[in-house]
């Protein structure tokens, strides 16, 4: 019997700590598949951030550097500059990348660092228990926006994929989701393209992945998936915002 489906070799055969319905697992898998597809596992270095994504090293079978909160693009810059022949990617959440780490991501992008950034947007701080994130939607209730996000007080959610696409240093910027088979297939293709940019030495690539956090949204998995379709995608459109090299 032919085996037609298996765990990517870049992922370890372990259980994750992620909550039921969390989409980090699916995103991990797509990133690992991209690493497998290009045959680059033995020269890939992951840069972990702070939050639910910190355990990158427990799940990915690649070397990993853990960075301070928000600083992954700076750490990745140091690692890539020290070892330009390696494939370096960061994996960061929305609080990490779009709040405390805005300076590091903007400047790494503007320098056109030859890295790949995976940005997981679930509109909340997952690990600390569901506080308001820079991407929390207007009116969305969280533990620190109990009456709902008030734009007059908190500002509007950051649209990072659009924002970064405006910088000359960015070669590729896109937003994807993994809430349906169709979106997963599209996300796989686009994440592969983001890694292709680095494999071919064509510059900085940024992928925003919309993700569900049922635990902190107070929903079950199906409700969370539905919310992603009904509320998140209209605000954060799925699109390739920049594809400089037409890869």
């Amino acid at each position: 019997m032919n085996q037609v489906f298996s765990r990517p070799i870049s992922l370890k055969d372990v259980q994750t700590h992620f909550c039921p319905g969390c989409q980090h697992g699916a995103i991990h898998r797509l990133v690992a598949e991209a690493i497998d597809d290009f045959g680059i596992r033995e020269r890939t270095i992951g840069i972990a951030s702070v939050g639910c994504s910190v355990f990158l090293y427990s799940y990915f079978d690649v070397d990993v550097v853990e960075s301070p909160h928000g600083r992954a693009p700076a750490v990745a810059t140091g690692t890539k500059r020290a070892r330009p022949d390696r494939i370096v990617f960061t994996y960061q959440g929305d609080g990490d990348l779009a709040a405390i780490g805005t300076s590091e991501i903007i400047h790494a992008a503007n320098r056109g660092e030859a890295i790949t950034v995976i940005f997981v947007n679930n509109t909340t701080y997952g690990m600390t228990g569901g506080q308001m994130a820079p991407t929390t939607l207007p009116g969305q209730k969280t533990s620190t926006s109990p009456e709902g996000r008030d734009i007059s007080n908190d500002g509007a959610p950051f649209k990072m994929a659009e924002l970064l696409s405006n910088l000359d240093g960015v070669a590729f910027s896109a937003r994807v989701a993994v809430n349906s088979p169709k979106n997963v297939l599209q996300a796989k293709k686009i994440i592969n393209t983001a890694f292709r940019y680095q494999v071919e030495g064509k510059g900085f690539a940024f992928i925003e992945v919309l993700s569900a956090c049922p635990t902190n949204w107070g929903m079950n998995s199906l409700q969370a998936n539905q919310r992603l379709t009904d509320e998140m995608i209209p605000y954060f459109p799925l699109n390739v915002y920049k594809n400089k090299g037409n890869l």
Binding site: E42, V65, A74, T77, G78, A82
Partner: protein
């Protein structure tokens, strides 16, 4: 290679770093250390190294973290306000057992302070500086030659012990020019960086550089291991200089720029027939406590001189024998507050037995 060259203290740091095999420098402009990034922007790329002027001190220290994790010799430099910003990254490096060199050309504070000489960051440097309870290696040059020699030493010590190392000077030492010999990098036996990330090959272990330690007893074991490593460091790597301490009735003690001024004051005292010596710690961490203890077995009076209201004096008092009298003369940092040799000589007369 005994040819003498005439350079600034800050330039000597940059030259020594390149000689020591610096691969990556990440920095941000701040007075009085900007000669270091300026020199390295010009010279480091010629050696195949990377220079980046970073958007912030926070970005710079985290690039040092990333480059060091990949096994490269990496450095950043700054002064007071910038060093405060770097403390987050230094703490993560300490927690991840990463080497790396941080140069601090001290200026006045707190806050924006001013750009004249200061030694008021002694506590920040020698007590770790960031959160979590750790120490870093701190070397305090008192001449341009030492700026060169101790910068090279900082790289070797940091690699050997996997502890970040700081070169701690001030604007007097950083900005003045002296003739030095730019010695070649000394031969030092260093272990291979087998812990560095490099891309995990089949059959090799996965390398992870991290400071998160959640396992049962893992963090406690880390702290005790580092505690033991600091002791080894103190036993093997403490450096200090003694001048005319053999028959001294009074020992003046100071580091960096104040040690230079104090040395002239000690000469003046000797000319006046007073038996005065100088004890200058070169490593501030590890502090040469055993040398102070030995000195205080025979000389019972010390005079500590600092450009602050007194910080190193804590370590002096903790080190000397209990019946030792430690006096203090300080000039907290400020424009025009650098003491003259005559001023220190007056203090010597005041406390001399």
């Amino acid at each position: 290679m005994s040819e003498k060259i005439f350079v600034k203290g800050n330039e000597a740091v940059a030259m020594a770093a390149i000689e020591a095999g610096l691969r990556c420098y990440f920095g941000y402009p701040i007075t009085p250390q900007s000669d270091i990034p300026e020199y390295l922007a010009r010279e480091l790329p010629k050696t195949g190294g990377t220079f980046i002027q970073v958007e912030s001190e926070i970005g710079a220290i985290n690039m040092v973290l990333g480059a060091s994790a990949a096994g490269a010799r990496a450095m950043t430099s700054s002064s007071g306000p910038g060093i405060s910003l770097k403390q987050e990254g230094i703490s993560y490096m300490a927690g991840s057992e990463l080497p790396g060199v941080i140069v601090d050309i001290m200026r006045q504070g707190p806050g924006l302070g001013g750009i004249d000489a200061s030694q008021a960051d002694y506590w920040q440097a020698t007590r770790g500086g960031g959160h979590g309870g750790y120490r870093i290696i701190v070397l305090a040059p008192a001449s341009v030659q030492e700026m060169y020699d101790l910068t090279m030493r900082a790289f070797d010590l940091s690699d050997l012990y996997r502890i970040p190392a700081m070169v701690l000077a001030d604007s007097v030492i950083g900005q003045m020019k002296e003739s030095i010999v730019a010695n070649p990098r000394p031969e030092v036996d260093l272990p291979a960086k087998e812990w560095a990330v490099r891309g995990r090959r089949e059959g090799e272990p996965q390398n992870v550089v991290k400071s998160l330690k959640l396992g049962d007893g893992e963090m406690e074991a880390f702290h005790w291991a580092m505690h033991d490593r600091y002791k080894v460091l103190a036993d093997r790597e403490s450096l200090w200089e003694e001048i005319q301490t053999g028959d001294a009735e009074l020992i003046v003690t100071a580091f960096g720029s104040t040690a230079r001024i104090s040395r002239t004051a000690v000469d003046m005292a000797r000319e006046a027939g007073l038996k005065v010596g100088l004890m200058r710690p070169i490593t501030l961490f590890p502090f040469p406590s055993h040398a102070y203890l030995a000195l205080s077995q025979r000389c019972k009076r010390f005079l500590d001189i600092e450009l602050s209201t007194g910080q190193m004096i804590d370590d002096v008092r903790l080190s000397v024998a209990r019946d030792t009298e430690v006096s203090f003369y300080g000039r907290p940092p400020g424009a025009g507050s650098l003491p003259t040799p005559e001023e220190i000589f007056q203090q010597i007369r005041k406390v001399y037995p």
